[in-house]
Each structure stands twice: as C-alpha cells, then as structure tokens.
Symmetry: C2
C-alpha cells in the first residue's frame, strides 16, 4: 500500500473527474465562489481556481461579477453553470395538436410552438407538423439543429424499446412510425420517444404539484384516461414500456368512464367539447350533468384504486384536460379511494395544464444530456451524438 | 491542478477504500490470486498483496491453498471472501408455523428450525415460538446472539416504517406487535421486519425462478393471495409499505377467489387441507374440482392482470402454497392474461416451496450487512449495531 503509480492518463482522468465534480456542484445550484466550490468538492483552492478558469474558457461556466455590496474588502467573483451553452427540445404529439418547446439546460423555456393537426391526418402529414413546430421554436430562438443537444417526444400509447407505439396508438397509421428515425435525418443529437402520461408524470415532479414526492401515480384524465408511475424517484417504464396501462383492464372501467360525460352532452356537440360542456353544466348545478360527473369520477376511482393498491404512492396527481375541473372530482375521488385502499394517498390537481407532456419531454431531454455529460466526462460543450 | 495535499487521514481513508474494493471484487466471485485482484481493482500488485494479507489477518478473506495441478512453476495462492466470518437469520412468522433459517454471509444455510404455532395463539405465545426457532438455529450452528449480524422477519400484511402491521394482519392481536423491539432485547444487530410476499419475491430473484429478471410480479397464492413487486431490480415497498396489496380491491376478486376451492371440498375437512384436497381431486379428473380450480384461477388472473397492466413486468412468478399445483393453473393463467394484457409476461411456477419467505428474509439480512459494510468501511469483522 506504499506504492502509488500515477500515469499521464491517470492525471488527465483525475483532472476530468475534478472538473466534473465542480460542474456537478454548480448544476442546479446558486452561483458560488472558488472558495465555496473548493469546500464543496474537497479540492484545493488553487486547484479549483485552475479548473474553474478552464471551464469558463470552454463555455461550461460563466462569471457572475460581484455587485459591490460587500462591506469588507474586494467581493469575490461567483461562477454559475452556463445553462445556455446547450439547448433541448420537448414535443407533445397529440391527436389535435403538436406542442414543441425549446429550453436551455436548466429548463428555462426559450420558445414554444403550438400547431393544430387534423385528428385524421396520416403519419406523413403529422410528422410534417412536428417538423414545423420544432422549426418554429428554433427560428424563434435563433438556433439551428446543431445547437440542439437532445430531443424528447411524447406520444399516446405504450412506447417500445424501438420508440414505436406498436402495441396501441389512437393516431391513424401511427403504429409503425419511428419518430426517432424521422428526427435523426435532421438532428444528430439523442432522440427519445416516450409515452405522454409518463412524461406528464415527470413534469409534475419537476415543476408541478408533486415536487416533494418520490412515489407518484399520475392520472392523465380526459376523453382517454392513462397513468404514469414514478416509484422511488424514478419514472418506471416497465419491461416492455407498458407500465401504467391499467386502463386496458375492463374491470377498472377506464375505457367506458368518459362515455358517462359524452352521453350527457347535447346531441351534435363535438366529442372534444362534450366533456367541457358537461363540467360547466355540473358547475352550474345541472342535476343530470352532476350525475354524469359523479359516474365518471366513480369509474376513474376504480382504476386509480388499483394503481394505489398496487404501488402505495405518496401522491396521486389528477392531470390531463379534465384537471381544470378537478374541483368537481377531488373530494369524491378521495372518498372512493378511502373505501377500498388500505392507505389513502394525498390527491392533488395538476396546475401545469396543457403543457405537462411537453414539459416532461424537456425534463427527459435534460436528463439525457446530464447522463451523457456525467458518464463520458466534460469535453468542450457540443451536442452529444445519438 | 498540480497541487495535491495528502493528509494522514486521506491515506487511511484511501487504504480503507482500496481494501473495500478488494473485498467487493471477491464478494460473490470465485477465489482469485493477488495478480487477478490487482487487475480487477486497478491497484498495484505489491499494494494489493499488502492489503490482502491485512484482510486475511482481520478474517475477511481466507487462503485457498493451490491444489498442485499447475504444470508450470509454483501455483499461486488464491483468496476468497470468508463468508463464515458473520451470520444472518431469516424468519417466516406464519399463522400455523414459524420457520427460522441461519446462514453465512453468502447465504449458505447452516441451520433451519420449523416450529408449529396455534393459529389462535396470542402475540406473547407466538413471539415465544419465534424465540425458540431462532434459538434452535443458533444452538444447531453453535452460535450465540453476538454472532448474528442481521435478522429479518417476514409477516403477513403491509409492514409500516416502524416494522408493525398496523393496517392489516390476520394474526390475533398482532397489529401492535413490534418484532423489531422484541428481538432487540436479545440482539444488538440490525433487525428488519418485512411483508412475507415481498420477501418471497426477493427469494425468487436470488435463488428461484426469476434470477434473470429485474421486473417481477410475485404472487403468493394460497388461502390468502398476496403480491410482491420487484421493479428495475429493486424490491418496491411503496410509500407506506403497502405496495402489492391489490387484493384489497373487490373488483380484482382475490378476496373471494379461495372460496371456490373451499366450497368444493367435502364438509368437515380443515380449511387448510381443503385446497390440497381440491387440487388432488382436479388432478384425478373430478369435474367439480376442475371447475373450482378453473374459477379460482380465473379470479387469480383478474388481480394478476391488474398488476401486469400497472407494472409491465418481465416475469410473473406463481408462488405460495398453491404453486405445488401450478400445473393445473399456469396455462389458464396465461390465456386469461392474454385476453386483457397489452403484453403478456412469462409466467413461471416457484420451486422454492415453503421456504421462500425465510430465504427472502436471509437475502434482506445479507443486503443489510453488505450495505453497512460498504457504507462504513471495513473495520475488523464484528456484527454491526442496530
């Protein structure tokens, strides 16, 4: 144990690891001085200074000049992680719209584009709208494809290892579409495709009502009902990407639950507007509408109880389009869960609204960037390759 | 980055980390030479030799003398992790019996004790049987309480953070019993209490039919039906320890499923023998018995489908007392899952039989020892404190 052989490679590797530990110490934290960073990383102060200057030169860190408010002596410079050194794109591909968001590595949104798409559009037409939405974001932010470090896209239906929704998708002709391959023709960065409910669950833990929770059942409640699961702080995909698809079980009544709302709306009203009409009528005291909402909530509760009993989460988040009417459902949902569940979790209404899937896609893309950075070390900041 | 200050504490800490990396390199692996260990850990050969001799002196490693079969030169000594340096105890506290097992740190069982207990026994009587079973194991192995490094106990019902089954337990008066406090009066090592289905799931992944899987739904099928979940390679407890309790939902029919078997058995037969009678009759071609098994399996499948749809596991393990009759159920279970699940996992019958819960308890206890060793460094081998 007295002998220590140190090679040139060792020294380079150690310098890289030390640089990584400094970037980690700043990622997601307030700006810090060299002295603070030395304390936090356990490196020497002079050594920390050398690394920090190198990271500034590479573009990983930026200098925060002192504001002159220090009373004693010359105030120290602070450094912060330069989140603007890279960007990520999150996309929500829905039946009626495509929502794209572009953000820096801290998730600060720089541009958003929401474009309508015909529910009956064929895959080529829908992919063209995806491209247009992403292009709009890049144009608005003055960026080109090479500036994008990761892209994540949310779609309805369980997503398999190849990024396809082969098991099930409500989008016409979409089962064999590979969004990843399509986007790879224009972007060289990593592209991930993920189920929309799973991404929305990520968003709630990141910026939504479940920031304090590690065990979350997220409900995407709309004319389709789905679920995303976060267990022990990690999004759970399942072995084949189909975790959370409890709605496929007839006994839990999620497949038929929305029909209570639809059958209560006046004839002629569009399917997508029917639910809003019923929720409004219920809020105004319409008895038939209140019954329809109660029946919907009762059926929503059966599948929710199944997930709660299976997973014992801390929090259930009621999200999706119907979360705007959560006031009509939350109390009853809690009562129904109280009847069947051994331990009733907190139930909270999502506040992220229509952006939750795209926001979750941003989070997944940032996670991908971080994973690659912290795995492979810190070269000069350029987009990772797929 | 040129400056490196190395203090005495740093050197001690580095020696400890290097010792840890050598123990890790041997834990669960075949015996190795110093040269092999140096290669695997990246340490120098002379440095590795010094540490290995220290670990032998401490009792962490033992020497495997060469068998003289080497053709060229003097064959090298090998070293192996000395699993016998510590022991763990796993206990299964059931309604009718207490099963205790004592094993070394590799899980090699040194002693087993199975004692009957009256289903109506009060907590004090049941705890006395637990003590007796553990004592029998220690006596058989020639060990005393101070030689036991960790104890895990499996009980029926969800186990909360305090180690109690306050939410539900079928054992009379057991809801407020703290096994951990009881055992702490005699053992100073860590004591864990866990749900029996969860422990059985651990056992299947350790030594059973799910060794290759990271995503497992384990079914404990008997006159009570329960489930244990392993997701991404880790046992999932849930926020309040109640994960897997899908059987509490009336819609999944687990509560009533065993009644199909019970009502088919001849009058006067003991509840616990009724199922065995029906399975035997079904195997002999009795039509009524076959119908009863089919109805039981159909209801078992509803709750199983709920767990499969919620979690999308790679494997479903049919375990518990009824797994001896898996041949009568597996095909039908697969067919029923095929009807409702988006992706049907493999279904396998447990082969661990009545020992699965106690084996899982051993695994949990060994994990506890490993976690503490690898967290706190390697002093001389003594039992960790609770």
């Amino acid at each position: 144990m007295t002998e220590q052989v140190t090679t040139g490679t060792d020294v380079n590797r150690m310098r890289e690891l030390n640089a990584l530990s400094i970037v980690r110490a700043l990622r997601g934290n307030p700006p810090s001085t060299v002295t603070e960073l030395a304390t936090r990383t356990g490196l020497s102060r002079p050594g920390t200074d050398v690394i920090v200057q190198g990271l500034v030169a590479d573009g990983w860190l930026t200098v925060v000049e002192p504001d002159g408010s220090s009373i004693v002596g010359r105030p120290a410079r602070r450094y912060r992680f330069n989140a603007g050194t890279g960007h990520v794109v999150g996309v929500d591909v829905g039946a009626h719209k495509v929502l794209a968001m572009l953000a820096d590595l801290d998730g600060t949104v720089a541009a958003t584009s929401r474009l309508p798409v015909d529910p009956g559009a064929d895959p080529a037409a829908r992919l063209a709208v995806v491209d247009a939405a992403v292009d709009e974001c890049m144009a608005a932010a003055g960026l080109s494809p090479g500036d994008v470090w990761a892209i994540s896209v949310g779609v309805t239906g369980p997503v398999d290892a190849s990024g396809r929704t082969a098991l099930f998708t409500p989008l016409p002709g979409w089962a064999s579409v590979s969004l990843a391959e399509h986007l790879a023709t224009r972007f060289s960065c990593p592209v991930q495709v993920e189920n929309d409910c799973k991404l929305a669950a990520l968003a709630e833990r990141w910026q939504g009502v479940a920031r304090d929770a590690d065990d979350i059942v997220y409900l995407l409640a709309g004319m389709r009902i789905g679920a995303g699961l976060i267990i022990d702080g990690t999004l759970r995909r399942g072995y084949g990407g189909a975790a959370g698809e409890i709605g496929a079980l007839p006994a839990v009544r999620w497949l038929t639950a929305p029909s209570h709302l639809q059958s209560c709306a006046p004839p002629g009203i569009d399917t997508d507007d029917a639910a809003a009409w019923v929720f409004n009528a219920a809020r105004s005291g319409d008895k038939t509408a209140r019954t329809a909402v109660r029946r919907f909530t009762r059926d929503l509760a059966v599948g929710t109880a199944a997930l709660v009993l299976a997973l014992d989460p801390q929090v259930v988040v009621l999200g999706g389009g119907f979360s705007r009417s959560a006031d009509l459902m939350l109390d009853q949902l809690a009562r129904e869960l109280g009847r069947t569940c051994l331990r009733v979790p907190e139930i909270r209404a999502s506040t992220l609204g229509a952006e939750s899937v795209a926001l979750g896609a941003l989070r997944l893309a940032i996670d991908e960037v971080d994973a690659r950075l912290f795995e492979t070390g810190l070269p000069a900041p350029v987009a990772p390759r797929a």
